[in-house]
Symmetry: D2
Subunit: 301 residues, 4 copies
């Protein structure tokens, strides 16, 4: 195990922290960096080398994973004044697991290629829990012959690593899934609410939908109505799960991608607006299935 | 078999015709009526008694099934000048399989109760094919103790008979399912379209969605993108299936129910508008999954 | 003045009360009825005759004005067990100033015609203040040769009486205006909010819009942003004005009319949903321009 | 006149061509560049100097106007390999009249400032006709003390030059106006369509709206219904005017700005989708008021 070559890891936040730990567990020497030095401390104790900049990471590791909150952060880490590209070695493999605009992934890939290195986008699905348990799903875009090399690292952190196509398609797959998820969730919430107001028992209605053509993951696995299922956020006052503010972020990326490709997304666009309004009305940190609560309140005079 | 008591059947259109035939096959003497006399001729040849009005049907049969295209038709057949209620016998069981506004079902139920008879709403899902094959699903609303009597007849025409609650809940369940179906279908169509424009292979994208949280009946069983699945309308130029104009009708009923109960249905409302625009743009008779085609066309200058 | 023939008035609520008083002021003997007897007391003191039912009003007056909160109320007052039609005299003129579904207006007109009387729909715009001041606008639908007779009465209560066409078009005009108003108001609110977040001064932005193609009544006469104009509800914490719950009601009527005529109204439909959500979020009694407040809140984590 | 100092002009397309000609008419020596050499030829004949790159323009003129189709073009012209910034002189005044993302305007302003020059965004409203007639409206963002210098040039091309605030607010004002315009136009189109289907005469309905709270520029100055007004695109089969594809572009910019500032724009977002669908359905080159035609078509089976 000790003979494994080091892996760089940049971005040790809520998601990056448990992901990097899983690399350590699998015996990889980790070269760590985070813009907040405190985030690195824990890794120092675990034997990781902590560096002063993304450039320093690139100097010491030729395989690097980045996990950052937004497109501007990713640009800074790759192409900034102390960015990876300042010192990246030829032939290095750079894997970005951030969820960002696929157009930005393509830009970064071009810049990386110019330096003779390889870039892949590999955003994840599954939240902090899956990151800890090491069973994230990775959706990977990039040159196909490098996929095996990427997979070797990603399987330390996830149970499912899917090749999606050229650079940017990992992001595209994630954005697409989450857009359809948001639409189905809002649709399920408003349908359940309408059914209840028309006199249907919510459990019975869920059962009917789930054996019919209205069935979807939001109705049969993650039902947003309290009392219909156990072990889901709706059974726990919408705590835990996938936060409304994160869903709003992903829907914003979908909007930008759709705008740039001139693709009509009438319901995706409306779903974005609804999650945006929810954020403004105090739901930012609740699970995104709280849209049921947002829509159901009785009118009061 | 000959000893079975007669069953009235009013409304022998695309759906009513094969449904009534299945009653005949099960040995029920059928007392038939349709506003278009030609529609009855076939049943005369099958040995059914053909009558001149709904009232006449009510005089000769104490179990009646109605299958009509809209709320005004249903009102006319029950409460019109020659309607069922003019001659209905006490204790009769009247089952309405039309898809109509649940508020109208409740009105009819009240009028029927005043005459000492019983009314149940029992709309169907599954189109003409399921009607012929006798495997429709019936969603039934009404007094629970009468459900067994209704089920005896309905199982001759359907494979699935679900009790939903008090009068109107059969309609409510159907409307709710179809609203969520429309939302998921449009969502699937725009998601697939966006993914394709972002460089994803449609089959691969469908596979990713179907193993993720974006999964829904429209993505895994009835995918709207040509080439992704076989045996669905999208594989056959959107012929057959469930027509856009019928979906628009059901979404209109959902809108009216939501308006009357002051229920916010932001995506259901938008789905209604999209199917309405499709009807105006020549898609009325195509399967409702043709929304993919409606949204995907390239812009041309 | 004393020689004027009596006028019936049914529905003495927030709007009906000041309207009927203006008839009294103009010297008309008023025959009054309201479902809540207390509502009539004040009119007794003013010398009006108070009756026990709409039928009684019809017995004593051959010109009647009705001002009721909803379609079911209007149906009851005209066609109910003690309704106007039980005792209406031939040649009577019945004017309904309620805001209801135009399809219901047409139904009532048919029933009234059968009795040999005349029905006109004449909904108003302008709220309680305009009702008191006698400067409401009436939009009138019905047979054109009766318009002058209607106008004689309506000018006692309004400053503007517009003939719109056959029965139902008064309702249609009102519903159409309010739908476009709601769309423009929400549009103005979201535009002002976006501009402010992009660094524009709200007063300057309003000025630019008002001299450009974005100009509308909601931007130049009733701006929803506090501080931009004086003497409007936004300058007074959205008190007074036209309540959100009333706007939601009118948008519901627009939806039902659009559904019944198969007319696509994508933004009208979304506007309905937004006012519906506002009602559920505590804005029911605020002026409808409070949509600016509903949309603007900052996201808080 | 001959003593006037030269003005650079980059981007001689549909709009830039007549704008630059108006500078020539006012006696300014023009230093011209366009990516398509043919576009410059006409200016050579008019006595302008034609250059090989934006950098060359910057070398010869210290006041430059740019008029480009999109954000990427603007970035290239300013910061590209042969861009303005390669040779810009200290103290130069660079005015960008392109309609682009205000965030990009801010980026460009920063880069320009670093070189010791001044950047202002000054997008226009009014189409090719107004550009020819020299009565465009300019909405200007940038440092206030430079506004007079900019205004001197812009008044040669426009009749209305409005100072909006810091850099980016010119774009913001334009985007905001056009978003509200699109919302009002679609709203007017669907309202007129609904009114017509409910039996109202379109001219009468327009008159009622225009004297009521539904009044907006789209109803009273640019009515989308053929036969209501003369001299507008709806009177001429929607030819001329402001193309649907241009409106879709501006709405895309509004979406991106709203997404980046987390501003809910529910109707603006839906308006974007509708113009996007119209582009895909063959309306790209028609005036944006053709949305009436898009929505009104009768359903045909």
């Amino acid at each position: 195990m000790a003979s494994k070559t080091p892996v760089g890891f940049i971005g040790l936040g809520n998601m990056g922290n448990p992901m990097a730990k899983n690399l350590v567990k699998h015996g990889y020497p980790v070269i760590a960096y985070d813009v907040f030095p405190e985030a690195c401390k824990e890794f120092q104790d675990l034997g990781a080398q902590v560096t002063d900049s993304p450039a320093d990471v690139a100097e010491r590791a030729d395989r690097i994973i980045t996990m950052l909150p937004s497109s501007p952060n990713a640009k800074e880490v790759y192409t900034g004044a102390n960015g990876i590209l300042k010192k990246v070695k030829k032939g290095s493999l750079l894997i970005d697991s951030s969820t960002i605009d696929p157009a930005v992934s393509k830009e970064l890939a071009k810049a990386v290629e110019k330096m003779g290195a390889v870039f892949m986008d590999a955003p994840v699905s599954g939240g902090v829990g899956a990151a800890r348990a090491g069973n994230l799903t990775f959706m990977v875009g990039g040159v196909e012959q490098e996929f095996d090399a990427a997979k070797e690292l990603l399987t330390c952190m996830g149970s499912n690593v899917v090749y999606c196509g050229e650079v940017g398609t990992g992001q595209a797959a994630k954005i697409c899934n989450n857009m359809l998820l948001a639409i189905s969730m809002i649709g399920t919430a408003e349908t359940m609410n309408l059914g209840i107001r028309l006199g249907l028992d919510p459990k019975l209605l869920a059962k009917i939908l789930n054996m019919s053509s209205g069935r979807c993951w939001s109705s049969d696995t993650y039902n947003p109505v309290p009392g219909v299922m156990e072990g889901v956020p709706s059974a726990n006052n919408y705590q835990g799960g996938f936060g409304t503010t994160l869903m709003a972020k992903d829907l914003g990326l979908a909007q930008i991608s759709a705008t740039n490709t001139k693709t009509p997304v009438p319901l995706g666009s409306q779903a974005h607006q609804i999650y945006r309004m929810m954020c403004a009305k105090g739901y930012a940190l609740k699970d995104f299935s709280a849209v049921f609560q947002f829509l159901r309140e009785e009118e009061t005079l």
